[in-house]
Amino acid sequence: MVNKRTIHLKVNDLPYEALVEPRLTLVDLLRGELGLGGVHVGCEHGVCGACTVLIDGRAARSCIMLAVQADGANLQTVEGLRGEGGLHPIQEAFMLAHGLQCGFCTPGFLMSALELLGENPDPSDEEITETLGGNICRCTGYQSIIDAVRLAASKMMASSGKMDGMQR
């Protein structure tokens, strides 16, 4: 008989408690138990990046992490993305620059981009491709995704410039 574990974690600023089998992956917890279906599950062995979420601010694949390993962690998923007009500037940029087609991989790309732009508001093309290399898209051919991240960077810099003067 397997001993289940009680874990506590924060997802998108909401506290959760869950009773889980140790073998439950984090992505299955998020989707199956917490109802966060925006976290997509693709390859389930750490290759495609569709399940990327932020764990304590760092982008990581939730399919190759156990739910019990997220005990005490602070998570962000695509459900937590929002901005003034509803969409987060990164989501808006993906829409405007056609950074998605079927959309399956998109939540993962958004979360990878979120980490990148949080740390590096004005990344070079090389830094963008290095980051996005961790996510696979089978529709777009990537160029429009790179364009979207670049657009998101300029949108976010413009709005932060408005808010706190010439910060950079």
């Binding site: 397997v2 001993n3 574990r5 089998e21 140790p22 073998r23 439950l24 992956t25 299955d28 389930e44 062995h45 750490g46 990046g49 990327t52 764990i55 760092r58 982008a59 990581a60 694949r61 399919c63 190759i64 992490m65 156990l66 019990v68 390993q69 990878s112 980490e115 290095e130 980051t131 290399g133 961790g134 996510n135």
Partner: protein, 294 residues
């Protein structure tokens, strides 16, 4: 559920880890960042009776300068190594190699100790550890011991770590002043496992090669040194001809490279030679500059 069922332990001291491992007599696996183990669990290629998670063990996640080199706790994330100014300064070869490990999203979780203990033959860190003569600190039921990197890697996914032992620290000596280095790798896409890679360090004394170290990876079950090629360089002046000849020796002496769906043995041997030549040239140019500065 993807993985098969297992018992889960997350003890809070290294001593507890060792005690629990002993209890399972080889049927338990340590999990750290999980970036290599979790795919194996998800595909049920690994079905350990128990997992011992290091996440709550304090004092294994650090990076500090020590005796002119670096002491890195086994739980240190690869991303922290990549971003460390101390690593860039004292051990630029390690710094350069870290950026070849998978993708940022993997390096955010993957640990230094995890990659070394997993010992994938196509992984970067094992080859770097061998090239730099790193030392591994290990704790087990018999107490503490240290193992030089050259004795750590035994065969495919197998190290000299006993099933009851845990890797706690890796010590990298600092790169000696005047030492040139190079890290080269060919993969299908950036971030994929290397088809072939090479780590080189060498010095130039009075303009002549001295103490060259050539370590190839992705070609055999463990990182593979090329002592014949190293010897060929010793005491000789750098020349295009010498580098070509040494690189050819290296490609010959690594034995029969692995062949798989990604690359044939012939292809790997060819690439091993090309990368070795490029690495030697780059390392020689770096050694030249730093010698003049010294």
């Amino acid at each position: 559920m993807k993985p098969a069922s297992f018992e889960y332990h997350d003890p809070e001291t290294v001593g507890e880890v060792v005690r629990i491992l002993a209890q399972y007599e080889g049927e338990a696996k340590i999990i750290a960042g999980g970036q290599s183990l979790m795919p194996l669990l998800n595909m049920r290629l690994a079905r350990p009776q128990a997992l011992v998670d290091l996440r709550r063990v304090p004092g294994l996640d650090y990076l500090r300068r020590e005796n002119g080199g670096l002491a890195i706790g086994s739980l240190t994330r690869q991303r922290d190594v990549e971003r460390s100014a101390d690593v860039a300064e004292l051990q630029p070869l390690l710094h350069a190699a870290t950026r070849f490990i998978a993708h940022p999203q993997i390096r955010n979780r993957g640990t230094v100790g995890g990659s070394l203990a997993h010992a994938d033959p196509a992984a970067e860190l094992p080859a770097v550890a061998v090239a730099l003569d790193a030392t591994f600190a290990i704790t087990g039921p018999e107490g503490d011991r240290t193992v030089p990197a050259g004795d750590f890697f035994v065969s495919f996914l197998t190290t000299s770590l006993g099933s009851g032992e845990v890797l706690t620290e890796v010590r990298f000596p600092g790169l000696r002043r005047g030492t040139g280095w190079s890290f080269q790798e060919v993969a299908r896409r950036h971030g994929d496992f290397a088809l072939v890679g090479v780590a080189v360090t060498l010095a130039l004394e009075s303009g002549k090669f001295h103490g060259a170290r050539i370590v190839l990876f992705g070609v055999g079950g463990t990182p593979v040194r090329a002592p014949r090629a190293e010897q060929e360089l010793e005491g000789n002046l750098p020349s295009d001809l010498l580098l070509r000849s040494a690189a050819m020796s290296a490609a010959e002496e690594i034995g029969e490279p692995v062949a798989d769906i990604h690359a044939s043995a012939e292809y790997r041997r060819h690439v091993a030679g090309v990368l070795t030549r490029r690495a030697l040239a780059e390392a020689a140019s770096r050694a030249g500059t730093s010698t003049e500065e010294a």
